[in-house]
Every structure is written in C-alpha cells, then in structure tokens.
C-alpha cells in the first residue's frame, strides 16, 4: 500500500510481482509500460525492486516488478489494475510457453 496519500489521486494500490529472474522482471516491465493509461484519472509507475528479506545478493538487480497505481476513485483504480493484471497474465504465459530455454526444452522432449 502507498505510504502517503496523494490528494489528487487518493486511491492507491501497489502490486508486487516476483519473477524468477531479473531478466524476466525487466521484460515484463518493458512490455507493459509502453501503453499509456487511457484515463487521465489514473497515474501509474513501474519499477523493479529486490526482495527485502536479506537474500538480495543472489538477485542483486532485483526480480520484483512493482506496479504503483493511483486513481481519483476506487472504481477507476479497479478498472486500471484489472487491465494491468490481464496484460500481466498474457506476458507471463508468453514467458512460460515461448522463452527460448522453454522452446529448446520442448524440442528435446519431443
């Protein structure tokens, strides 16, 4: 949850999505941040962060996609976050099915 409340966009939600690697987290960020938010009633920012539980050295560059959404109303927040989740699910499925290591593995199985 957002630490402080923005008076212009009082409804806020931060979604943290852990990925197996920094590379995948960064692919998701780059693929998702191209499209602008359609409504001026919503602002958002993406970042990549490292886990805060002390195991940072294995994932020094961070593997968590952080999506921070702020909106004027809860309804606008819900619409924007839902749309983010739908796109995120697509990005993750493409990663699961079509990343090069997965394809190589599939070829070996077949």
């Amino acid at each position: 949850m957002a630490a402080s409340i923005d008076p212009n966009f009082p409804c806020a939600l931060t979604v943290e999505v852990p990925f197996p690697t920094h590379r995948l987290a960064s692919v998701a960020l780059k693929a998702l941040q191209v499209d602008k938010e359609l409504s001026s009633l919503v602002t958002r920012s993406f970042a990549i962060s490292a886990p805060s539980d002390g195991v940072t050295d294995t994932n020094a560059k961070g593997n968590i996609l952080q999506a921070q959404y702020k909106a004027t109303t809860n309804r606008m927040l819900r619409v924007a976050v839902n749309s983010f989740m739908e796109s995120l699910a697509l990005v993750m499925e493409v990663m699961e099915e079509l990343d090069e290591d997965v394809l190589t593995l599939q070829d070996q199985v077949n």
Binding site: A31, K36, A89, L90, E97, E100, L103
Partner: protein, 369 residues
C-alpha cells in the same frame, strides 16, 4: 528490390502477429534476397465467433486473443520448424482496428521481441492486405479494392504511397453484411458474410428494392442496412400473418419476402456500388488490373461481378482465397519484412497501437515504381 540491412546472406524470416478484429493470426514468412522468392512457412489463425444475433465486442475479443496467443504462436513455430534465433524481426499490427484487441496482441509481440532479442516492426493492417494480395496473385500495379468488416477503400499506388481514391462515408461494407446477419440471427460461424453468401445463392427470384448510395468516388452503407432491416421486419410480419391466418393470407400482389432474397438483394446492391467506384478508379489511373483484398474479398459473387467489369475493360481481377483474404498473421509478417528490409524498425517505446491509421500515412519505401 532494396538490399536487406543485415548482410548475413540467406533468406530473411519474420514472424507476424495480427489481432485488429476478431481473428488472431500468427504467420511466419521467408524472403530470399538473392532469388526474390517469398515462402509462407506458417499461417495459423483462430477466430473469435460470437453467438448468432450478436457481434464481437472489443473486451471479449481482446480476451480471446490473450487466451490463444501463446498456443497459436507455438503452433506457428512448430509448423514453420523455425527457432526464434532464425527470425529477423517480429511484426505486429499497429492499426487500424479495435483498440483492446490490438493492444493485447501488441503486448504479446513486445514480450516476444524482448525475450528473443529481435526488433519489432509495426505494420499498417491495410498495407499488409495489399502487399500480401500482390505477392500471392502476382498483380504488379493494380487498383486495389480493400473490403472488410472494418474498412472499405478503393486504393491506387502512386509515388510510394497507397492513395485512397474512394471509401465508405459511414460503415464498412463487411460491417453492413455482418450486422444484417445479426438482424436475421444467422450463424457467425465461420463468418457471417459467408453464410449470407450461401443464402444469397438460393435467392434471386426477386431483387428487392434497396437504396443505391454511390456519392462520387465514395459509398454509403448505413442507409442500405437500415432499409434491409425494415424489409426483414416486414418479412417477420408476413411470417406471423401466414402462421395465424394460413397460406394465401397476404395482400393481393404483395411480394413474399424471404431471407434468401434479402441476402441476394443486399449483396447485388452493395457489390454493384463497389464495382462502380472501382471501375471509375481504374479509368482514372488507366489500369486494367483490379486486386480485391480483405475479408469480403473472398466473396465469390463480388469476384464474379468485378471479373465481368474488368473483362469488359480488357483486364482481369486478382483475388485470393480465405487463407490470405481474411485477416491473417502472414500478411503482417510479409509487409513488416518488406519494411524491415528497407531499414525500418519500430523502437520499443514507440510500439503502441492506434485505432486510426490511414493507408496513405505509410511510406511504401520498398516500391520504386
């Protein structure tokens, strides 16, 4: 043809992703720079079919594309026996089309581009249709009639642009047909227009009176749809009278309206309009070739009417079958690869979509005639 930018030699391979309307298509194409030959390695499509009486809504269509993207992409790679490292670029439809479906496919195409470290190429959907039609039919410099559910344009090439000579003033011809299929509540499987065509073949006893709306080089279809809807309502009123009062209950001299005659009359009217504006464009340009592209282009009645017009002018009509006429990924791969070969790529930050993207906005750098 312009030399490709990468000088590795051997054929260039591209993957194309299309999802501007209710078809999700992924195709893989190969261009051989030495022979100039094009080969279709894969052309997989999955269509979102809505129940009879309904159309496809952006939200549901986008969901369909998201659901099927990964498996269609996998199927295309398998069919082509191609690995990501062999690809020169990832092409996707930038527009025009429905926003949400376009965006869902663009997100997936971006993910592929990032995972596989291959450049993106944003493609104009209309240019994709035209280039694929030229490639498949071998028509070199035709007048193009682009007719689909979202677009109706008469196009001719001049000085590296596909220029729009005439177009619809309101709805697309395919939209008129699709919505009339909804009025009759006939199936949308495999396509509403195809089912109208089948019904129309059984009709033809009478040509029902519909408005004919050609305005200069442009057409209008919404009024025709309205008039056809009124006739369909009259038909249902007749059904009711005949059901309650028995046969022979219709007024003296009243024409019994049937779905078959309605479909026949609608097709004859709108296709005659399209043939008229196409013929005028051919006369302007001095071309005897006409190429029909877009989903409505696989209608055999339209092809036949266009064929007899072209024959009278000493020319011929070029058309493709449903694999290439109806929206597909291969046309996006093809047009994208043509652009890529001239050095065009779409930087990630600019890899957005746009619902409005006119055919003549695109510089056709790969043609120098």
């Amino acid at each position: 043809m312009t030399k490709p930018t990468n000088t590795g030699g051997g054929p260039l391979i591209a993957l194309g992703c299309e999802g501007s309307a209710n078809k999700l298509g992924i195709g893989i194409i190969s261009h051989d720079p030495t022979t100039g030959k094009t080969a279709v390695l894969a052309n997989i499509r999955h269509t979102f079919v809505s129940p009879p009486g309904t159309g496809f809504l952006p939200k549901d269509t986008a969901k369909h594309h998201r659901t099927f993207f990964a498996r269609i992409a996998l199927a295309a790679l398998r069919a082509a026996k191609v690995t990501p490292s062999q690809l020169a670029c990832i092409c996707y439809t930038k527009g025009p089309g429905m926003g949400a479906p376009l965006q869902s496919v663009a997100v997936a195409a971006r993910t592929l581009s990032l995972l596989w470290d291959r450049p993106l190429v944003g493609v104009n959907h209309c240019v994709g249709h035209i280039e694929m039609g030229r490639e498949i039919t071998g028509a070199t410099n035709p007048v193009v009639l682009y007719v689909s559910g979202g677009n109706t344009q008469v196009i001719a090439y001049a000085e590296q642009r596909y220029r729009i000579f005439g177009e619809t003033l309101d709805i697309a011809v395919g939209n008129c047909l699709d919505r009339f299929a909804r009025t009759l509540a006939i199936s949308n499987d495999p396509a509403p227009g195809y089912n109208i065509e089948l019904l129309a073949r059984k009709g033809g006893a009478v040509l029902l009176d519909l408005p004919y709306a050609v305005k200069g080089m442009d057409c209008s279809f919404s009024g025709i749809l309205g008039a056809a809807d009124i006739l369909a309502a009259q038909m249902r009123a007749q059904d009711k009278i005949l059901e309650t009062e028995g046969p022979g209950a219709l007024k003296e001299g009243e024409t019994r309206i049937t779905p078959e005659d309605l479909c026949f009359s609608l097709q004859e009217t709108v296709y005659a309009m399209l043939v008229e504006i196409t013929e005028r464009a051919m006369a302007h340009v001095g071309s005897a070739q006409v190429l029909i592209v877009g989903g409505v282009g696989c209608n055999e009645r339209l092809q036949a009417m266009m064929g007899s017009m072209a024959a009278e002018r000493g020319g011929s009509v070029y058309a493709t079958d449903e694999r290439f006429c109806i929206d597909n990924g291969i046309m996006i791969a093809h047009a994208g690869l043509l652009a890529y070969e001239t050095g065009f790529v779409t930087p990630l930050a600019e890899s957005t979509c746009t619902q409005r993207f006119r055919t003549d906005e695109m510089l056709i750098k790969w043609r120098d005639d």
